[in-house]
């Protein structure tokens, strides 16, 4: 215990916070545990506040008060909502799960703790880490509100990479927390760090001691600051811990594909390298309406200029600008010769905002141009990509979203992907997402910030290097079921395709997994002979792997894809997809936009309820949260409650 001012704030001492992150291959399993005690003479409220990645699903939440554990139960959202509304009607304030910043959601729960009582919060969430630009990233926000006696973040990565199950090597790095305002943001250390043993606070990331994670069998990254290290000054009671804990790694990839099988479920990771880049036809459809005025148009120009520096000579491109009208740089796609690129730069420098938003007109012109090139180039091996950037809703020309969707769908005809970049908050992002998903692309938010040009450029880099087109993952039909998405328009360098499924026959000895695709100069078929028994035996010997992680990975991926399909579906199809996603969410205890997790504790003859929930994309962005907040509120009817949206 600590005296008042020494880690005790308003009578509440948070004596332990542990964040345990376990990455098995690409599947992350995180447990956040906080223990607190009420040292005051009266009941106090304790809030547990965690920021978790938007792409994660909460899988468990428990409260333990005075040794009694109240487990979380997964429920259909509607059912949980009734409990939520009842609580609100009784005048209780509810904690919420809300979008928080670009990458995070905030999970908050409050509990009223009697004098002298202890409380333990334990939140578990899981996430499938996606490979982008050649690396996986596991991200944690570390920002306690007060000094914590035992604070530890422990990252463990289990080497289930590629090639043989035991033979992978993960390369990890940690972005150091910001130890004081003067420390460099985003300083990267090679593999991990630990604070030095001296009592002097660490003043910069460079001062932190580096710890190299051995390549196998497991690697740990531990961050365990003492109270002295947490203090903002030697005599201060407030904490200076405020930063990001990021583990970045890539797997040692001996061959392009890796299949893992455990308990009748398999996952197939595919990321070839060493292939030449497929030349591409790319059309940028840019919104230059009045709302883009000022910084947004400046950042768009900056990003496009930088992108022009990266375009390769074998690529063809064009710019379509839309406001009230539609203007094009060139009448057709032109090759990215040095002369043309110079002209393009001049064109981009002179882009100015004007008028309204004729999104349909801009898209139709861009798609038409790609279609012409598609027809004209015949059998040439070229990848076609259309990138739309807009900051608002269509309000000129065709402005009905369903009609725009129909027009785009018919015009593209499934031939190439459409990527939609939504700039800022004043737009119908759900529409952009539906539009992209319907056309084999994806939507991405561009946050209105000083680095918006880097976000735009970063997205382009992700799709700038297609290595394969028309990728199809094939498995023996009579041996596999419940397959996740297994065909993709393009495979981009630095990314990874993940397909999971179930074996029909648990006693199957082996099966063959083929990946077919069209490269820049040839057609390729990669074959993986999967010896099920040998793989299962190898995994059994690796006791540190949580046994059903492949099954959970399959469930995660399936739910994620069902939710995506649901966004673009209507009527009965949408109902069926919803029912499937809901069924799996309930079965695997995933808090998805369709479910909530409810913790109920009978107290004073009345049920107390806490709910963990997941917001949809429409949830408003709020200021990043403080984690592990404890605060004082006047004693009132106790409650603890969490909900979203």
């Amino acid at each position: 215990s600590l005296p008042e001012g020494e880690g005790v704030v308003n009578g509440i001492e948070v004596y332990s916070t542990k964040i345990s992150c376990k990455v098995t291959s690409r599947f992350a399993h995180n447990v956040v545990t906080t223990r607190a005690v009420n040292r005051a003479d009266a009941a106090k409220e304790v809030s547990f506040d965690v920021a978790l990645p938007k792409t994660a699903f909460i899988t468990n939440f428990t409260l333990t008060i005075d040794g009694v554990t109240y487990p979380g139960n997964i429920k259909e959202k509607e059912v949980a909502k009734q409990q939520y509304e009842k609580a609100v009607s009784q005048g209780r304030t509810a904690g919420l799960v809300k979008a928080s910043g670009r990458k995070l959601e905030k999970f908050t729960v409050s509990v009223n703790v009697a004098a002298g009582s202890k409380v333990t919060f334990e939140l578990t969430y899981e996430e499938l880490l996606k490979r982008r630009k050649g690396k996986y990233e596991m991200y944690l926000k570390v920002q306690p509100k007060q000094l914590v006696k035992h604070f530890e973040v422990r990252g463990t990565r289990c080497p289930v990479g590629s090639g043989s199950p035991a033979g992978s090597r993960l390369l990890c790095g940690v972005q150091a927390p910001l130890w004081d305002p003067g420390s460099p943001v985003g300083s990267r250390l090679p593999c991990g760090f630990r604070l030095p043993s001296s009592s002097r606070p660490v003043r910069s990331a460079q001062e932190a001691e580096q710890v190299h994670v051995p390549p196998r069998p497991q690697g740990h990254v531990s961050f365990k600051p003492s109270l002295e290290h947490q203090r903002s000054c030697p005599t201060c009671a407030d904490t200076l811990l405020n930063g990001d804990f990021i583990i970045t790694y890539d797997v040692n990839r001996e061959s392009p594909a890796n299949v893992q099988v455990v308990n009748g479920y398999f996952v197939h990771f595919f990321a070839p390298h060493g292939l030449p880049v497929v030349p591409k036809n790319v059309v940028f459809v840019i919104d230059i309406s009045g709302s883009m005025a000022g910084r947004k148009i400046e950042q768009t120009r900056d990003a496009l200029l930088k992108i022009l520096d990266d375009i390769k000579e074998e690529d063809y491109l064009n710019f379509i600008l839309f406001s009230t009208g539609v203007t094009t740089w060139k009448d057709t796609l032109v090759q990215a010769t040095p002369e043309n690129l110079q002209q393009a730069r001049e064109f981009v420098k002179n882009i100015n905002d004007e008028g309204m938003t004729n999104m349909n007109g801009g898209l139709m012109r861009g798609i038409g141009m790609l279609n012409e090139a598609w027809d004209g180039q015949g059998a040439a091996r070229r990848s076609s990509i259309i990138i739309l950037l807009t900051d608002g809703d269509a309000n000129y020309g065709e402005s009905r979203t369903d009609k725009i969707q129909e027009n785009v769908r018919n015009a593209i005809g499934g031939k190439f992907p459409l990527y939609n970049l939504g700039f800022g908050n004043n737009l119908n992002y759900n529409f952009l997402e539906r539009l992209a998903l319907e056309n084999h692309g994806l939507a991405r938010r561009i946050y209105e910030d000083s680095d918006a040009h880097l976000q735009l450029q970063g997205f382009y880099e992700e799709v700038a290097n297609p290595l394969l087109m028309g990728v199809e993952m094939e498995y023996p039909e009579n041996a596999i079921q419940d397959l996740t998405q297994n065909n993709y328009k393009n495979f981009y360098d630095g990314s990874e395709i993940v397909v999971a499924g179930r074996l029909l026959d648990q006693d199957l000895n082996s099966f063959k997994a083929d990946v077919k695709g069209h490269g820049a100069v040839n057609d390729l078929t990669f074959t993986e002979e999967v010896d099920v028994k040998e793989l299962e035996k190898a995994f059994e010997e690796q006791s540190y792997i949580f046994g059903n992680y492949i099954e959970r990975l399959w469930a995660y991926l399936t739910i994620e894809q069902l939710l995506d399909q649901r966004k673009k579906a209507q009527g009965e199809e949408k109902e069926n997809l919803t029912a499937k996603a809901l069924g799996l969410s309930l079965k695997y205890n995933f808090v998805t936009p369709l479910t909530s997790m409810v913790v109920t504790k009978p107290e004073d003859g009345e049920s107390q309820t806490a709910i963990a929930d997941k917001p949809g994309e429409e949830a408003n962005t709020v200021t990043p949260s403080m984690a592990y907040l404890t605060n004082y509120q006047p004693p009132q009817t106790p409650y603890y409650y969490v909900d979203g949206d």
């Binding site: 061959s255 060493g274 030449p276 820049a520 100069v521 057609d523 078929t525 074959t527």
Partner: protein, 240 residues
């Protein structure tokens, strides 16, 4: 490296060694009509024997070029790469992959072999011979086999290419040689009389680890008398 020339008409085989320094590139096949060329670079053991007579050499790098297709294939004991114009695809011996391109088919079988077929008239197999990584002296090497050459022109040359055309040989006067376990004989081939020794070499196409024994008549002194010219005539400056 060892060379085995199977003579279907005689149901027999002739073999010879070429002893050259590591780094030397030998022309194995060159068809002036199509431009199709196969060259091989010699490597030695990790710890080469000081005595040149007992020195072991192998092929460590092979290059196949087809200028009509603007294609170059380079195979080492680590990687296999296909270059087409300015673009290059690189694979590893850990891949199992089939590559189809303009009438050419390349099939890589993980840690085993690679088959290159040009249409239906020229098919080559490259076999990967792997040794224990920590072996003190030996290292991985490559084997090269011509499975089909019937579309190659009559002008084809090279240490292997010159034998794509039918030729006759006869063996007589079989008698015990200087090594009592082996027999020597007189071979008449290309209007020359050569002293040859009965021995055997291995074909690793089907059984990549153990190989299949191929009895053959061994021609001494770098195939002297059996090959056109002398073996140094087949040394070329580079793989491509």
């Amino acid at each position: 490296p060892h060379f085995i020339i199977q003579v279907a008409e005689e149901d027999d085989a002739i073999c010879f060694n070429i002893n050259e320094d590591p780094g030397t590139v030998l022309r194995l096949i060159h068809d002036p009509a199509t431009g199709l060329t196969v060259n091989g670079e010699i490597i030695g053991d990790k710890e080469p024997s000081p005595d040149p007579k007992t020195r072991r050499t192998y092929f460590g790098r092979l290059g196949i070029a087809n200028p009509h297709m603007d294609l170059q294939i380079e195979v080492t004991t680590e990687t296999l790469s296909l270059g087409s114009g300015a673009t290059r695809s690189t694979f590893s011996w850990l891949d199992t992959v089939m590559i189809a391109q303009d009438g050419m088919l390349v099939a890589i079988h993980r840690n085993e072999n690679m088959t290159v077929s040009f249409g239906d008239g020229a098919t080559f197999v490259i076999v990967l011979h792997q040794v224990w990584k920590k072996h003190p002296t030996h290292r991985d090497f490559l084997g090269f086999y011509v499975v089909d050459s019937h579309r190659m022109s009559a002008q084809t040359q090279g240490l292997l290419g010159q034998f794509f055309h039918p030729f006759d040989f006869s063996v007589s006067d079989v008698h015990p040689g200087s090594d009592p376990t082996k027999q020597d004989a007189t071979m008449v081939v290309k209007n020359r009389r050569l002293t040859v020794t009965r021995g055997s070499q291995k074909d690793y196409r089907k059984k990549s680890h153990t190989g299949t024994k191929v009895p053959c008549w061994f021609v001494h002194n770098n195939g002297e008398g059996f090959i056109d010219g002398v073996h140094t005539d087949y040394i070329v400056p580079s793989l491509f």
